[in-house]
Symmetry: D2
């Protein structure tokens, strides 16, 4: 599995709020969309083995407004890997140096049957080794 | 199961679009929210028996804008029952005679295993008899 | 202004509901996204002149489920033009002949100042002439 | 203006993701909904004077899943007030001691005309004095 991924994000009219810019909560949807694409292949394999990757915290620091016509990309990358949790960080940007926001999520692995935290699966640990 | 239900709807800031009124697509979310409440009890029973109720068409006629401070209710009621489909209609209103929109959805019953349409379950047929 | 437009739609994890397919209300968001792109250039011009194009009815007929990995396009096209309203129709498809849904919206022109319906602006009437 | 507010949150079917629980991004929508209610009265007054309150960072720590039938409340309260920014914290709970999540947002005041940060308005500074 790759260590990072840059995903173009199509700004929808529905993403805008009454101020005419992308709503602050939608930035988390953009991050989620990129994260799901990063894990797309791994995900089905993990699900089969009964491993869930669950967000335990999320944060976003807003720098610039996003408007309907903006080009938007999300670069998601592995930031830190512990034994039972790992951090992903997110740059939401226009592909030309303009940063709209910077985010982070911490995820843990959950044994779907026991509903208990478990050691991170090999697939995630291996991400850290890919340069 | 009751034949109709009136559900208060809490207008969220997130429901508004850049025109400052509830977005036209959100009216369908309001209808869905009411429909799910109408079927809440029946739903678990049907799911156990492998019966899914699936929306095959949806429509909405918009009459008045909804703003953040409006009181909003959705009255969902059984409109027509056939052999393999039934119609629900929706009044989105303020509880005092002001109609924001009128909607309709047609649903069919699907056998979850065979992925095929099936006869409407007794629970739905019985709705028509409750006055 | 063009008479129709085909817009690729990026399915987001957030578009899925608990059944693992794109929620039925999200189909209307897909239609809205395409419609806004069709009117993008015209829109600013109309706004300057105080003309709003407002959805007075919307409908969708669902044919096939959409899943996270599906390729999705929305083709929006002018369907019918009257004096005070016009219809847009929408094909939501995979670009290879599979139709997920077919929708329609009726729009009217509103004089933003008077808050009253008005004759359709020239830009919309001209759409009908473009083949 | 009150220093805190507890707002009941109606869980919508649309808030659930494919795991059948409220999606992690929706927690931010719940916080926003409560925040907007806290500022409802102040908001119009501030808007008239050209003062915008803008979220510059948001975070959420997830403790428990929220399901469709859960009772949910958001308690939003003023946490810290500086010269140019203030923090709101949020408890998302069931009203009986069960905490679903804890969140925080930092907001600044923006002069809408100059598009520049400005001193916090009196209304916000006064919140800190209300016990």
């Amino acid at each position: 599995m790759k260590k990072d991924l840059t995903v173009p994000m199509d700004v929808r009219f529905a993403d805008l709020d009454m101020y005419g810019h992308v709503n602050s909560t939608t930035f988390f949807t953009y991050m989620e969309t990129a994260r799901v694409k990063l894990f797309m292949d791994t995900f089905q394999e993990l699900t089969k083995r009964g491993v869930l990757l669950v967000v335990v915290s999320a944060e976003c620091n807003y720098k610039k407004e996003i408007f309907l016509n903006d080009k938007v990309f999300v670069t998601v990358s592995l930031d830190k890997v512990g034994n039972t949790s790992f951090d992903l960080k997110y740059d939401i940007h226009n592909g030309e140096g303009k940063i709209f926001a910077v985010g982070k999520t911490t995820l843990v692995a959950i044994d779907a049957k026991k509903k208990m935290p478990m050691q991170l699966p090999e697939e995630v640990l291996n991400m850290a080794k890919n340069e």
